[in-house]
């Protein structure tokens, strides 16, 4: 026989999804958000995004090659996503050195320490973000004003986020209805005209991304819906009890990165549960923790912490929440 056949166990038919195609699906979904942040924050957004993405790629390459001693594949898209998400989670006037530290922590500590793509228990971008938030609280909590600061980078005018304003006000005993006059309307919030991190401002862009991800079947609806649903229900109950002290649910959803977290961060494959039931538990947990942190905690927003905390529970969820086995004997008594 001149030519040898290939032999392998079945199946002999392979799907078209690859790690790369899934990752680039996410990147495409991030484009509207990037565009809107560039519109509102201009120069700063551009610098922050570029620095973050480039340094994430460089660190990924260096660490894979020289520390893990594997063949680096920096274009598989995962480092690109981490870089983008990190940029989306910081204010647009962050000094370059801090962004680079953030990217190093995200890739180095958040991802590579655990063995690279697929092995990290925590969302790398969020690890970077929370690290920066604790390390550089001053720089990380001064938010440039949208539109006005478009042409400025480090010298931008800053202000507080809507959630920060409200939290401060409530602490001083002011009524929510009075505070609402100081902050943008819901519509403004929806299109992203508010102070905040690059990617967390524009609800509409993130929803576009969500639609794309669902259409392309990159993610399923379970995590975003259960997480946002929990926030709406929980804050809704509080709001109905005392509208003077608590914000309305829609406001909660549109601010403080809830949408960004629900669509892009919590749904990260590696750090979310494997079963649909588990995903729903995960989403509910994040929603619940977010509201707890926002209302009772020290920080005005709590999505990052909530996601990281629930990330830690993922192995436990995977252990105990199993898909319904086919033909499982169910005893109805």
């Amino acid at each position: 026989m001149s030519k040898l056949f290939t032999v392998s166990p079945s199946p002999h038919n392979y799907g078209k999804d690859t790690v790369r195609s899934l990752m680039y699906g996410v990147i495409i979904a991030l484009i509207p958000t990037l565009a809107i942040s560039l519109y509102f924050f201009g120069l700063g957004a551009l610098i922050v995004t570029l620095v973050s993405v480039v340094s994430a790629l460089i660190f990924e390459y260096l660490i894979t090659k020289f520390l893990l001693k594997k063949q680096p594949d920096i274009l598989d898209g995962s480092a690109l996503i981490t870089g983008l998400l990190l940029a989306f989670n910081v204010p647009s006037n962050l000094p370059i050195i801090i962004i680079i530290i953030g990217a190093l922590v995200a890739i180095g500590i958040g991802k590579m320490t655990f063995g690279g793509l697929g092995n990290n228990p925590f969302n790398p971008a969020l690890v970077g973000r929370v690290f920066l938030l604790i390390s550089f609280p001053v720089q990380m909590t001064s938010w440039p004003l949208p539109i006005q600061s478009r042409m400025h980078y480090l010298d931008a005018m800053t202000g507080a986020t809507p959630l920060g304003i409200v939290k401060e006000g409530i602490k001083n005993g002011e009524k929510v209805s009075d505070l609402m006059s100081q902050i943008p309307s819901h519509m403004q919030l929806f299109i992203g005209n508010m102070g905040g991190s690059l990617g967390e401002v524009a609800g509409i862009a993130i929803l576009l991304g969500l639609a794309w991800l669902l259409y392309k079947k990159v993610i399923t609806w379970h995590i975003p819906i259960s997480m946002i649903g929990t926030i709406v229900i929980f804050t809704g109950i509080l709001w109905l009890i005392n509208p003077d002290k608590y914000l309305d649910p829609l406001f909660h959803v549109l601010t403080g990165g809830v949408l960004l977290g629900a669509v892009f961060m919590a749904t990260d494959y590696v750090t979310s549960p494997m079963t649909h039931k588990g995903m729903i538990i995960f989403g509910i947990g994040i929603g619940f923790l977010t509201v707890i942190i926002r209302i009772f905690g020290a920080y005005p927003e709590g999505v990052s912490f909530a996601i990281l905390i629930m990330n830690a529970f993922v192995p436990l969820i995977n252990m105990y929440v199993k898909p319904k086995r086919f033909g499982e004997v169910i005893n109805n008594g």
Binding site: P137, V138, T141, E168
Partner: protein, 205 residues
């Protein structure tokens, strides 16, 4: 009570002592006895230096916050009531029997973590002379800037008279510039100073 012969035999014996009731009692008793004796004597020995060190620290704090004095403020100290159940300690400073200032140990509970203790020095007319932080556990890098060693932030109080200088952070409508990103700590600091001022003025004869 203790049989010296037994002890001697125990010491010489190379073999491991067996776990009989008598052996256990003797061994544990001897060790406890020697330990406690040692400790008792070390305690006696260090008692003096320890109280000296504590006093020295307090006096040093007082020295910082009031003008030069000649008396021993610790001996002249008295307590005044505050708006909280805990009273404040006052250390009057005299220079040649003239009152040059009073140091008040004050506190605040609204800080980021735990109670903050300050030593505030008032001149007889109520003007703040100087303030030093006695104890705090605020976040390093943020709230701990209230400490003189960390930043010059607290110097803004020096020479101000709270009669005209509102002891509240600017956000709450006062005159105190808060530490960046540490409004809560600044607020607590201002509250503690305010508490001392009010108690001092109320108890001024």
């Amino acid at each position: 009570m203790l049989n010296l012969n037994d002890l001697g035999r125990l010491l010489i014996m190379a073999k491991k002592t067996e776990s009989t009731l008598k052996n256990m009692l003797v061994a544990l008793f001897v060790i406890a006895f020697i330990s406690s004796t040692t400790l008792g004597y070390v305690y006696e020995f260090t008692k003096g230096p320890i109280s000296d060190a504590r006093l020295k620290k307090k006096v040093e704090a007082i020295k910082i916050v009031v003008p030069e004095f000649t008396n021993n403020p610790n001996l002249d100290s008295y307590k005044i009531p505050s708006d909280m159940p805990d009273s404040l300690e006052c250390y009057p400073a005299y220079k040649d029997s003239t009152l040059v200032g009073t140091a008040i140990r004050t506190f605040s509970d609204i800080g980021f973590s735990k109670r903050i203790y300050l030593m505030v020095g008032f001149l007889p007319n109520g003007t703040i002379h100087n303030i030093s932080v006695l104890e705090h556990s605020e976040t390093p890098g943020l709230g701990d800037k209230m400490d003189k060693k960390k930043s010059k932030w607290s110097e803004q109080f020096n020479g101000k008279n709270p009669e005209s200088y509102k002891l509240k952070v600017t956000k709450d409508g006062g005159n105190v510039d808060a530490i960046t990103a540490a409004t809560i700590s600044s607020r607590a600091y201002a509250q503690a100073v305010d508490r001392a001022y009010k108690a001092y003025m109320a108890n001024k004869k």
